[in-house]
Amino acid sequence: MSRQALARQGMWRRQPMIQDPKLRWGLALGALVYLLLALSTIDVNWARVAEGASRGLNFLTAFAQPDFVSRRGDIIDGILESLTMTLTSTVIGVALAIPVGLGGARNIAPWPIYYLCRSIITVSRTFQEIIIAILFVVMFGFGPLAGMITLAFATIGFMAKLLAEDIEDLDWRQVEAIRATGASWWQTMNHAIQPQVMPRLIGLSMYRLDINFRESAVIGIVGAGGIGATLNTSISRYEYDTSAAILLIIIAIVLLCEYSSSHVRRWTQ
């Protein structure tokens, strides 16, 4: 009986998300097979888990009484270093992302430049910050400079991609209007394109500031400066109360960043 006829008799069922029953059951079966295969390859050392359970409990209780004091010096140094890395890398990254973003927009860039900029964006977005950090630590030595360059490089990919997409979507009539006045390329950029993308660019920069801070907390693991090294040490020494303190500080700073960036965004739009 058709769905309509059934519904008329009061036996209504909702529409399935995938109309074709063969495809629907095929997908479900495939998912099931994959799940079984995937789950069967996980081998868990339950003895080790049982041993670690008490540590897990320690960690949870550490959040109730975080220890900000005993490693105060290390924590303050690490956080300050993370913050400086965050700020400089965001400024440099955004400054470099603007030309790459302009070059990556199909409607204003010629083919060779478009491909060049798009490949920069792809490479920068594919590799996690931490992989890039490993390479830059090898090149520039340990310390915050390597971390700053890493974050700036990651910022280029992120900002340039979103900026390029934004430029591709902009209102082309304004560009035509400015061009019709005989404006040069720079003048077109400055008066037709920049005003249209500026609010979003500012919002994205604030967002990236926030991301860069979060990332600066991990690239320290491979020696690229910031709070990550302190955090890593505290975790591997099982000083969970210090780790909890660091994590709480990170959460607080991210919250603060998010709160202020939502204000800035409201103010620019």
Binding site: T126, I130, I134, F140, L247, I250, L255
Partner: protein, 271 residues
């Protein structure tokens, strides 16, 4: 737009008032000073001797990476499969946990404002902490292995999926919800027939998007011992086998490109 008049009586149009102009100038000045200050801190903590030969180190690194030792790729299929499993199972676990949290966090479906703030705290905590940090913690608790990676990815995904999903829930049309509740439906029935169908496409899109990000993140979880191709990467870097590192980079690059393509296609089909 402020206008000032010259002594001749001709108006001059300006973009900003004098006050706004000064404030803007001051803002830029403060920003520039802050930037220079931060730069100085970084510069003080840097060994410039090492930076000077960065070019040489870089070219040395590249010469060691090339040509890649392609035969090494044979040993990478199992770690790659683990990486995919970490990302996929982690995403599944993450969205399973994020789903109820999002409903508790959305203003229009939450049972109580207090519950809402608790859910928001979960979302923020999960979002602020990188999956690598979760992995480090879980490796000390659960021991090294794929399981720690899966849970790390899941914990990180809760915040991302939860935030985007609760925003989607807050933006639904109230009319279907009203219509369903007008039939005398219970709370859960309203959710099921009024809210859920409206957010389902967004939910599927967000999940696939997060899966794509998780593939990228799971490639590095092995660096802290949480399984996947990162373990091989760590081993290769520690033994300075840079020609193996480049093979791993190529594998990661290809996987991420494919997953991004799949995710874009699926999202395109859903939305």
């Amino acid at each position: 737009m402020p206008v000032s008049t010259t002594t001749q009586g001709t108006p001059i149009w300006r973009l900003r008032t004098t006050r706004a102009q000064w404030l803007q100038y001051l803002g830029w000045l403060t920003g520039a000073c802050l930037f220079l200050l931060c730069w100085k801190v970084i510069s003080d903590n840097t060994m410039w001797v090492f930076v000077e030969d960065a070019g040489r180190q870089g070219s040395d690194l590249i010469s060691r990476m090339l040509p890649p030792e392609w035969s090494y790729a044979q040993r990478l299929w199992k770690p790659m499969w683990d990486t995919l499993n970490i990302a996929t199972l982690g995403t599944l676990l993450g969205i399973a946990m994020a789903f109820p949290v999002a409903f508790l966090a959305a203003r229009n479906t939450t049972p109580h404002p207090l519950v809402r703030s608790a859910a928001l705290v979960i979302i923020v905590a999960s979002r602020s902490i990188n999956s690598l940090i979760w992995a480090m913690l879980l490796v000390t608790i659960l021991g090294p292995g794929v399981l720690a990676g899966i849970i790390a990815i899941a914990l990180r995904s809760i915040g991302f999926v939860g935030k985007l999903l609760y925003e989607a829930i807050e933006e639904i049309h109230p009319t279907p919800v009203e219509a369903i509740s007008a039939t005398g439906a219970g709370r859960l029935q309203v959710m099921n027939y009024g809210v859920l169908p409206q957010v389902m496409p967004a939910f599927a899109g967000i999940s696939v998007y997060r899966w794509d990000i998780n593939i990228r993140e799971s490639t590095v979880l092995g660096l802290v011992g949480a399984g996947g191709i990162g373990l091989q990467l760590n081993a290769a870097i520690n033994s300075l086998a840079w020609n193996q590192v480049s093979v791993i980079f190529v594998m990661i690059f290809a996987t991420v490109l494919v997953s991004e393509w799949i995710s874009a296609r699926v999202r395109h089909a859903i939305i």
